[in-house]
Symmetry: C2
């Protein structure tokens, strides 16, 4: 679980802007993953609400309780095809004692029978049709032989048998769905059944993707020479959309401070900057954030993604993700993802299904650092991937998921049950 | 698991069209759920492919293997910020033995250093930049003190340290993603990194929703009198969209055979008919399917949803779902959902995450019938919902998921671990 810690703001060291003449240096101190998550929890809050029609509401998050103003059904109705009768008229009916009832007419769903069911008579009725006055049960078609103007009942029913009562599904005045509910297909059905056509939902966060790097070619271009094709844009756009964002991605930005700053100031509630997040000379984003906003965290005790950072610019949450694609994915999933989901009213927790499975081999980590270890699943065992550095994105496509190794753990021996977060969607 | 049985077609009884004068009667024989799933598996096949751009490819299913025509990276590159050097020049460097190297220049990502790194010299290099000729390692910035025109190394690196090799991420000629893969965000990243901007994916099935019933008011209308507001349309549209369909839903259709037949003949690969699926007088859909196509299955040994059916009309798969909303949801999830997912190249299996948890109370079923039992989860126990009939849709919004009770089971005593399919999305 991430992001569900208490929202107390951690006592972070002040983060002075780097000196004007930025020299290359390592991070002097790294913030813990837990402190970074506390910062996210303290600064990400659900947005205001907006009204959407039911056909666009699947997966959205209710901004307020929904209370029904009607009973469903609003009338007593047949729950089977058969005959509306006075139940007492069927008492004693059996295959060897078939009781006749005169057919008075029929009633279909959506119609109201105008007459009244008297003793000794029956009205043919279809599932969903309102029970005629006078009747108190439905005799199923299977218990009857129809014989022209009358039926012969060869089975009996007690009063109210096969009759749906007023409010059986929804009682007027009850809360049928609570604020915070992420709407499911059947929720839309229930909402529709009570006459709701528009629902108030938490607004989607606008997330602006700022991908920087002079070495990057746009997606759809073959890599050439010492340039590489941008892998992070398509990945980040898909990740943010998965997490419920309205994604804005104007294209690759060069390593020019003015362009990066303009990108970080675009209309959005949350900015994801990929690349230029570290402490090198071309890593402008942290300095820009420190100068023009607040660089709350820079450098995190984790692997990969240690150069990640986060802060505030005006009222925007800004996440600085390393350009190396595995680091980018990992830092997105640890920090930006929970923030985006929280803004949109969703749970901050991992969006992946998880499974507890034993390790086939040992998984080694280092005390003081959180590890994001990719694993494959073979049979019923998790196999750690022997992987290179944070640049080997294909390790995350070969992997079936990942294991988070906490900062206070040196890893696990073979056979340990670990929680694998599964990349695959159910 | 459903839908992954062997695709042998079951030996189904022939299904004669009902007599012209359809009288109300029960089903004379019900097909088993397993046989119905075999029919689905035998008749649903993945569609042909279409080309989509990467930004629309998340969650789509690859129609063919993707093989890389390039190495990624295509050049040796720095994996850290630091200095490109001849590794041997750093041997013996230590805090008490700082070795000087002359700075020859610098190289940034996307640039090519024009000179050559000679013994005794260094080129400042940023992560991702190509390693200059002559250099064979990167000395991290942390191991160096920069001193104007030279650096003082106080740490050493072996050859190839912090150097990413050609093809380290992706080797030219290898299959990076197989046909059938449901694309993940990081897959889009890897595809982009090899220069792929368009991918061949399985076409989305066009699914036409035919909702019938004279008693139905359109969504957004308050229920009144003996009419009810259509709950199934918004639910089915969301379900089919979840399962990857392009959904076509022209609105509610009256209980007129011509309209229903025209609806079933609309452009689509799969038709979902809701309502009028049983054997009552107004249940036109089964008769229409039998007369104009093939009514392969009608009446299934399950609860709810026993009036469900399926068949073929021209080359369309047609699923007849009961109008009662819980039955509609259940029959969709058992039969139409797997078919839609299969047409779109996805796995037929339940699309829900599942958990094995103990039952808090007994769960009773009947031999010979599959049950779809809604449960809530409290603490770590599954509590069967005491529910009314198939019309109580709110039971599926109160439920956290459902348990399928197989036809050969009478149910489970308290404490039994059962697999709960969870409605919630991770």
């Amino acid at each position: 679980m991430i992001g569900n810690s208490s929202p107390a703001v951690p006592d972070l060291p002040p983060s002075p802007p780097p000196p004007d003449d930025v020299r290359m240096r390592g991070f002097t101190r790294r913030v813990t993953v837990d402190d970074a998550l506390l910062w996210v929890a303290a600064h990400a809050r659900p947005l205001d609400s907006t009204s959407v029609s039911l056909d666009l509401a699947d997966g959205r998050v209710l901004a307020a309780d929904v209370c029904s103003t009607v009973d469903v059904p609003g009338f007593r109705r047949a729950m089977m095809d058969g005959y509306a009768i006075v139940a007492e008229d069927s008492q004693g009916a059996a295959p060897y004692n078939r009781l006749p009832l005169v057919i008075q007419g029929e009633v279909l769903p959506g119609q109201q029978f105008t007459g009244r069911v008297e003793r000794g008579s029956a009205v043919r009725i279809m599932t969903g049709a309102p029970l005629p006055d006078g009747a108190d049960a439905v005799l199923p078609a299977e218990m009857v032989e129809e014989d022209g103007q009358r039926i012969l009942a060869h089975g009996s029913v007690p009063p109210m048998k096969h009759v749906g009562q007023v409010g059986e599904d929804v009682v007027r005045g009850t809360t049928i769905l609570p604020a915070g509910r992420r709407l499911r297909p059947q929720d839309l059905g229930v909402l529709s059944s009570i006459g709701v056509g528009q629902v108030e939902v938490v607004r989607r966060p606008r997330v602006r993707i700022v991908v920087t790097g002079n070495e990057l070619l746009p997606p759809g271009t073959a890599p050439r020479g010492c340039q590489i094709t941008d892998a992070n844009s398509p990945m980040l756009v898909a990740l943010a959309a998965r997490d419920g964002a309205d994604v804005i991605h104007p294209g690759i930005i060069g390593d020019e401070p003015e362009e990066i700053l303009a990108g970080m100031r675009g209309a959005a509630e949350l900015i994801v900057v990929s690349g230029g997040s570290s402490v090198g000379r071309e890593d402008h984003a942290p300095r820009l954030l420190a100068e023009h906003g607040q660089l709350a965290i820079h450098g995190i005790a984790m692997r990969p993604s240690s150069p990640a950072g986060m802060g505030l610019l005006d009222d925007r949450l800004v996440f600085l993700l390393p350009g190396n694609p595995v680091s980018c994915l990992c830092a997105y999933d640890f920090f930006a993802g929970p923030a985006i989901r929280t803004l949109g009213g969703r749970a901050a927790e991992w969006p992946y299904p998880s499974r507890s499975i034993p390790l086939a081999r040992k998984l080694v980590s280092v005390i003081g650092r959180v590890d994001y270890a990719r694993v494959t699943i073979e049979g019923d065992q998790a196999i750690p991937l022997a992987i290179g550095g944070a640049s080997v994105l294909s390790s995350t496509t070969r992997a079936d998921g990942f294991v988070v190794i906490a900062a206070d753990s040196e890893g696990f021996p073979p056979g340990t049950h670990v929680d694998v977060q599964l990349y695959d969607r159910p």
